[in-house]
Symmetry: D2
Subunit: 161 residues, 4 copies
């Protein structure tokens, strides 16, 4: 049984056709899981719906608290990519005895050509089998929280050497 | 390093607009990996491009042989869903010391609303971390080869009890 | 006010994921019009849901009858491309004082990469402004019923010289 | 023979995955026409690539000049929806003896669920048959330049009464 904690990020950006700009509405997670014919037993919980560049220490603390307190020991957190590694670090300091996998997308799911479906399938799979720890699952790869950084120029997550 | 063996199946069905019916062309795997921004190190090899209902014992033997002979110990096989479990059984009899994950799709990738991206992300992830053995990864879940069947009425893979 | 008569064709083909083949369900017209943000006043009526290669003389007669009898003088008929010109000929013989535009698609709408949205926008527009007569609207072009043929090899509609 | 003048607008907005925001790159027109299997004879010319809220009087004057000077008498202008009617008014004052149809989209084409394909098919069709004049083609409808306004709250173009 997995808990999926939604925090927003590119994953869930949508296009506001009246204002002509990107915005957040409800999470696309249930639709994505339906499309993926997912049969993974899980509970979705929306914690916030924000761009990760706008995430405060208080937001981060609430994600840590929720991961620590929820009954599940296997957790997927959807998150903006820009500060995903920072939140992973906070989780490593505050959560133990659980497998927490952060994931996100470079392209909004609503754009059709999304990497979100691929990353979601990947994150849910890693979360089912990895030993306890905090991980970042992006680009089909899985990194330990202390061995990854986002390359801001290429948009790619890479191993920290 | 993962080897991806392509055998066809719904994953790779495309629409022949001159004849107005489904057909097989080149595999969509490279395009799907690009779309998913995959950074997994892998080699793609097309073994055949057929509907799994048309798969013969000789076809199955060639998949087993290729899995046994290729240098990689982590392998993903894309396969039609109808006889995926049968091929898994053949692989269990003929391949040892490797992690082989079979996956597929219920909806062609070319149809847009595909579960293929989700399953591909899932299969590549399971293949990276599972111990040696033969597995079926569908619907975000992963089954041992001898503990799964496809429910033909619902199209869902379920645990064999 | 336009009447849209649905007869099936590639436009409305869908993928039957249990049987793994193309099939017909309900028409996608309402969804397509919603997606296109259409504000054209129209009534949709499904006459049949078949591949145009399977269309009989009786089917064709019922399309002619419906075009002649319905109150609207501006009509769009969605139709398989293979015998679209044959139905246009039947309409020319049996319907007068109305503008009837036949249209279709080479790729099912459900496949995402469809020419259906483009053709639907085109056909509805031609139907609003063309003088009485029977027309085929495909590939952004509009042909009189007696000046067009489908090139079976290229899938393109071309002017009959 | 139609000239298509590209000015940007939602039609051509794309998602900048490094910066995580909407931006303009090359026009999607050629790709859209290929997808629509368009066989309309036309020439595409990109005049600018901007949000129509940023369009200056000088920009507008250059659109008018290009419409007046180009050899074609049938023209489609792709344009942001917010000031489309304003540009139509400028065209009415500066262009005569030509059929000019402005069109756009409420959702970026790159978002998949676009009304752009529908509107493009519609605009190209109206442009082929309407008498000389300046028109706005949106939502499957065609309005004379002096009989239309965009309802900013609903995003719909409506007849000016």
């Amino acid at each position: 049984m997995i808990r999926v904690l939604v925090t927003g990020g590119t994953f869930d950006k949508t296009y506001d056709e009246i204002r002509g700009r990107l915005s957040f509405g409800d999470t696309h997670l249930p639709e994505m899981l339906r499309l993926g014919r997912s049969r993974v037993e899980l509970t979705i919980e929306t914690l916030m719906m924000i761009d990760s560049l706008d995430m405060t220490d208080a937001d981060r603390a609430s994600i840590v608290r929720r991961c620590a307190e929820c009954p599940e020991t296997r957790i997927v957190v959807t998150h903006g990519t820009d500060t995903m590694v920072e939140t992973a670090r906070a989780l490593a300091a505050g959560v133990s005895g659980k497998s927490v996998v952060l994931t996100g997308a470079m392209i909004p799911y609503a754009f059709g050509s999304s990497d979100g479906m691929f990353n979601l399938g990947s994150a849910l799979s890693f979360a089912q089998v990895l030993p306890h720890g905090i991980y970042v699952a992006m680009n089909g790869q899985c990194f330990r929280w202390d061995a990854v950084r986002k390359n801001r120029e290429t948009g790619v997550f890479e191993t920290l050497s």
